[in-house]
Subunit: 225 residues, 2 copies
DNA sequence: TGATCGCATCTACCATACAAGATTGGAAAG
DNA sequence: CTTTCCAATCTTGTATGGTAGATGCGATCA
């Protein structure tokens, strides 16, 4: 557990603690079920309990911590049902986004999407999974922006952290190639104005995660409820 | 601004303050743009600044308050774009819900929906707009439950408060009759397994809110950004 | 041996004091 | 009269002490 990066130039101590803890949780440095306390974290980061407490409240609202009053605060275990429903929300919104994109079909949109896919291929060839993850994130966000619903994307960003924890556990399984080919299918359908095709491609792309989820649960049963 | 209802048996002071403030904001007792402070609310409710501060953090994360560090805390003005995008999210999810319901079509589901609509008609005849609002809420939540995505409904419940503020401003305009007939159309389409029909009916039902929004902005321009 | 009670020791919750940035008003200078 | 500047007084941020509830372990008693 490293020191807080003071160079981050965050506004307040509380926000610094929020960022540090969130990173530790998403990257599994703090594992689901781990028990932490205000005093513990406060001492570890060299701040008082007050900003830590506020950080706990924020992270609890985001579903990463579970505050049990007068008892303890624990890193929330991953709820398989919650993951599925978060995925349902994301799928619902992305399908709607794709439908809009396919309907309005911009030429400059096509080139922008193509450029991102090219970058993803480069990252995949270099086995840079971290960069690939970032680009995949950007790909979906770009779809939202092109459909003029970028704000909506921000709204569901919180729930996405649950999915990120699962994704981190599945980092080694190189399914990048399949993801790229699926992205190509989506872009191609959008370019042709093929609404049902684009919708089906997007559903298939997102549905593949279900397999990974079940496998992850089998690999790390104590991280899930 | 009434006293905190101590009979509510809430867990902590902070949660009591959260509930009280949220009600005041949604019911426009605290208007968009109003400036409040921790000391102010603390004195008003007879508690210290600490639980009030935690309440502010929670409400800020839910988008109802805007904390400007070292300056002040204000009731966030309603963002028309935010309302539209929240509605986009809700529409995306509800369309997906209706699609699933229409596909699996349960007989007991039909009777449950019919019962709710009957109650709504009674509330509308009695001009009980508050009860009608509650029943309308229940109707949509029931749809989610019948589609086995009730947890997803909880996830989007936070964003719904933005819409509730707008809805509160449009309470007088008796559009209950139209809402009921629209609900009937949805249920009928679901019962017949008419997927496109159910989808179209749901979109129309939700789209009508856009008209109300524009009218509301015209009526209360200083409540919006 | 086994069960029950009590106390030491955790926890999060709340109150209070202090710190530091931001605002606002008026006074002073032009 | 206008402009500038400073200080009183707001605001939120942080630190710390005390409180009540929950837990766990050990002593005591049946």
């Amino acid at each position: 557990m490293a020191e807080i990066v003071s160079g981050a130039a965050e506004e307040t101590m509380a926000l610094r603690v929020v960022g540090a803890l969130r990173d530790d949780i998403v990257t599994m440095a703090l594992k689901p079920g781990d028990v932490i306390s205000e005093s513990d974290i406060a001492g570890r980061y060299g701040v008082s309990r007050q900003p830590v407490r506020e950080a706990f409240i924020r992270l609890a609202q985001q579903g990463l911590l579970l505050i049990r009053p007068k008892r303890a605060t624990v890193v929330k275990k991953i709820s398989p049902e919650g993951v599925r429903q978060s995925r349902f929300i994301r799928e619902s919104i992305e399908v709607e986004i794709i439908r809009r994109l396919a309907a309005q079909a911009g030429a400059e949109s096509r080139s922008e999407m193509d450029a991102l896919i090219t970058e993803q291929e480069a990252a995949s060839d270099a086995d840079d999974s971290r960069r690939f993850h970032t680009l995949d994130e950007l790909f979906h966000r770009t779809l939202a922006r092109l459909a003029s619903v970028e704000y909506a994307w921000q709204l569901i960003d919180d729930h996405k952290m649950q999915l990120d924890r699962v994704r981190y556990l599945t980092l080694g399984s190189s399914s990048s190639q399949r993801a790229i080919s699926e992205h190509k299918l989506i872009v191609a359908a959008v370019a042709q104005g093929d609404v049902p095709g684009a919708e089906a491609a997007m559903r298939a792309h997102l549905a593949r995660a279900e397999v990974l989820l079940n496998q992850t649960i089998a690999d790390h049963p104590d991280y899930f409820e």
